[in-house]
């Protein structure tokens, strides 16, 4: 039954479950992902948490504490351990609870995990997955609400994916676990409770393949992660105005599916990029640059970007709601490139 509905959280969890059943070399580690070692619960075979936001619920019951490892608050040590384990034969998944914490462990990710293979002349591989929460909307303030996937996308040796629906969340996780390179998998916290159809079989969505979320002819909107949902809302509004928008969801940021993006732009002649990350040195600017360099003669209007401002994420609900790009700004940007 292909129209079974799951939440993003359930789809994510199911992918890990199926991959861990498939391959005994897959293990997982992170803070509270088993849910604390509180003995009275262990005895009852129960778990306390299953991860801060419940992403790993139930995994420890099925796979036990030898494969689902709670860690101390030592991101350098355990994410580096995942890298070291990957280069010696396991296929670890490590949870960096919030991407905002990359500042305490980035060396192990970008100088070790990403570069060992190159520096060793191809004589090593590092099949590790690091999954991490991103994004604003939780009133979690400046240090728990960033996107930051641009920083990881900048790094040679890393692959970066940003799922947007339960369906692609599952397929991209299976692909990431089976991939032989380090993959950083970004989960937007606001998407966790969204739901959609998810097949039961263990399918894979190849890394580096974008998805046409909506076919259209008048303007191309490239929208990353949660922004895809807002782009779809904006497209509805614009349809009412007779503007037929095509929405491209890259899914993978590195490798980036340049072909699909360029084909769409060459068809519509207009480009708007929507990205919740801050503007400087962003994936959005990569995509504008791609179009400006390789579809220059096709563009009928200057490409637009709809992004968060160059500010930290504010706590106050009224300010955070202004911080996050929304359907209205997307619609305005499309109208502007159509003008």
């Amino acid at each position: 039954m292909n129209n079974r509905t799951l939440t993003f959280r359930e789809a994510f969890n199911e992918a890990i479950r199926l991959e861990m059943r498939r391959d005994p070399l897959v293990i997982m580690m992170g803070e509270d992902i088993a849910g604390g070692a509180a003995t009275h619960l262990q005895e009852k075979g129960e778990e306390a948490w299953g991860g801060d936001l419940g992403l790993t619920k139930g995994l420890v019951q099925e796979f036990g504490r030898d494969r689902i490892l709670d860690t101390p608050i030592s991101e350098s040590a355990f994410i580096g351990a995942a890298v070291g384990a990957a280069s010696t034969g396991l296929r670890p998944i490590a949870e960096l609870m919030f991407v905002d914490f990359f500042g305490v462990c980035m060396d192990q990710i970008y100088n070790q995990g990403a570069k060992l293979r190159y520096m060793f002349g191809g004589k090593a591989k590092v099949p590790v997955v690091i999954e991490t929460l991103i994004g604003a909307g939780f009133r979690a303030a400046g240090q728990h609400s960033q996107c930051l996937y641009s920083v990881f996308t900048h790094m040679p040796g890393l692959k970066t994916v940003v799922p947007s629906t339960p369906y692609n969340a599952k397929g991209l996780m299976s692909a990431a676990v089976r991939d032989d390179d380090p993959v950083i998998y970004f989960v937007h916290k606001v998407l966790l409770d969204t739901s959609g159809p998810v097949p039961e079989d263990n399918y894979v969505i190849p890394l580096g393949q974008a998805e046409i979320a909506r076919e259209g002819t008048d303007a191309t909107v490239v929208a990353i992660g949660r922004m895809r949902l807002f782009a779809e809302q904006a497209a509805e509004t614009l349809a009412g105005e007779g503007i037929d928008v095509e929405i491209v969801d890259p899914l993978s940021l590195s490798p980036l599916d340049e072909k699909t993006i360029l084909e769409s732009v060459k068809k519509t002649h207009r480009l708007v990029v929507v990205d919740e990350d801050t503007p400087r040195c962003s994936v959005a600017n990569d995509i504008v640059t791609l179009a400006a360099q390789q579809a220059f003669d096709y563009l009928d209007a200057p490409p637009r970007t709809v992004m968060a401002p160059h500010t930290p994420v504010p706590f106050s609900p009224v300010l955070e709601d202004l911080y996050v790009p929304g359907p209205a700004q997307i619609a305005d940007a499309v109208r502007a490139v159509m003008a």
Partner: protein
């Protein structure tokens, strides 16, 4: 038991009660959907924050954690400004931009709650360095949790403070858990205080529910720091009444554990002590109870009615200047 004059005893009790009232109220407000975000409550740990702050002036510094309300109140941050910050209102301590995890009041020497575990260590070394370079006798208290003791920043900070002889007291509040993970699982050391040997500095483990014990240990450490003899590591063993953050149902606590904790309540413990020793009277304590309740009541009311920040505030305070 440490000799503490009456004025100070009254101050200590009032701060502890203010913290408890503030946290109980914050918990209700979160449950009612009045206050959003990640809210980490300090109830049960009042004795460590207040026991240390009782020895500080506004000139001294503290660095805090995600669980910072108690540190703020102990250091004298205005509870109205704090409550408004929890709401994200313009009248908040940070104009609503920081929220519970980032309440700060630099003028009061409160260098901020912090969303990053272990991040206070280096910042505390910096405040200590300022005092050392300027030749003042200011001290800095670095509050951190048992879970934070596994973060590399704390190791680096204690070593740096030790070799530079910085006037910093590292105060580890061991409440037994890092989120749902118990200290006996995440920490290899018997006592976190044992780690002082790694830096050749004094280390003490004290009952963090006994404000007199905390006060006594802090008194030695602060005096040592003011004399320019460098840092001390103090581990205050306590507990938390609430979940890691509001929304956590504490499923990982046993009933015995909850009961044991209730028996160790730092506020009841203080009351018994001062009453049995005739240091303070029922009337004095009850008056403080009533005042604390009223203060928090007013703060919550005022915060609820206060305005949200103006839209332009999204763009201000990123830089002092940016052409």
């Amino acid at each position: 038991m440490a000799e503490i004059e009456k004025e100070k005893l009254l101050w200590i009790y009032e701060r502890m009660k203010l913290i408890r009232e503030f946290e109980d109220r914050a918990s209700k407000l979160f449950a009612q959907g009045e206050v959003p975000g990640f809210v980490h409550l300090y109830a049960g740990e009042e004795a460590s924050g207040v026991g240390v702050a009782a020895l500080l002036t506004d000139e001294d510094f503290i660095t805090s954690t995600h669980r910072g309300h108690g540190h703020c109140i102990a250091k004298g941050v205005d509870v109205h400004a704090m409550m408004a910050e929890l709401y994200g209102k313009a009248t908040g301590a940070c104009g609503g931009k920081g929220g519970s995890m980032h309440i700060a009041d630099v003028d009061k020497g409160m260098l901020g709650a912090n969303g990053i575990v272990g991040a206070g260590g280096p910042l505390a070394c910096g405040a200590g360095l300022t005092a050392k370079v300027k030749g003042t006798d200011q001290v800095t208290i670095c509050f951190f949790g048992d879970g934070a003791s596994e973060q590399g920043t704390m190791h680096e900070s204690m070593n740096l403070a030790a070799i530079w002889k910085l006037p910093v007291i590292f105060l580890c509040e061991n409440n037994g858990y890092a989120q749902s993970t118990p200290a006996y699982y995440h920490c290899s050391a018997e006592d976190i205080a044992d780690r002082a040997t790694a830096y050749d500095i004094p280390g003490f483990a004290v009952d963090g529910t006994d404000v007199f014990a905390v006060y006594e240990a802090a008194e030695h450490a602060i005096a040592r720091a003011r004399r320019g003899e460098g840092p001390t590591l103090i581990e205050a063993k306590a507990f938390r009444y609430y979940g890691h953050f509001e929304g956590d149902n504490l499923s990982y606590f046993t009933e015995e554990e909850r009961e044991r904790n209730r028996q160790r309540d730092p506020i009841s413990k203080f009351r018994e002590r001062v009453l049995s020793r005739g240091l303070l009277t029922e009337e004095e304590l009850n008056a403080i109870d009533e005042r604390a309740r009223q203060t928090i009541e007013d703060a919550a009311q005022a915060a609820k009615e206060a305005p949200y920040p103006a839209a332009e505030e999204l763009f201000t305070d990123v830089y002092v200047s940016y052409p």
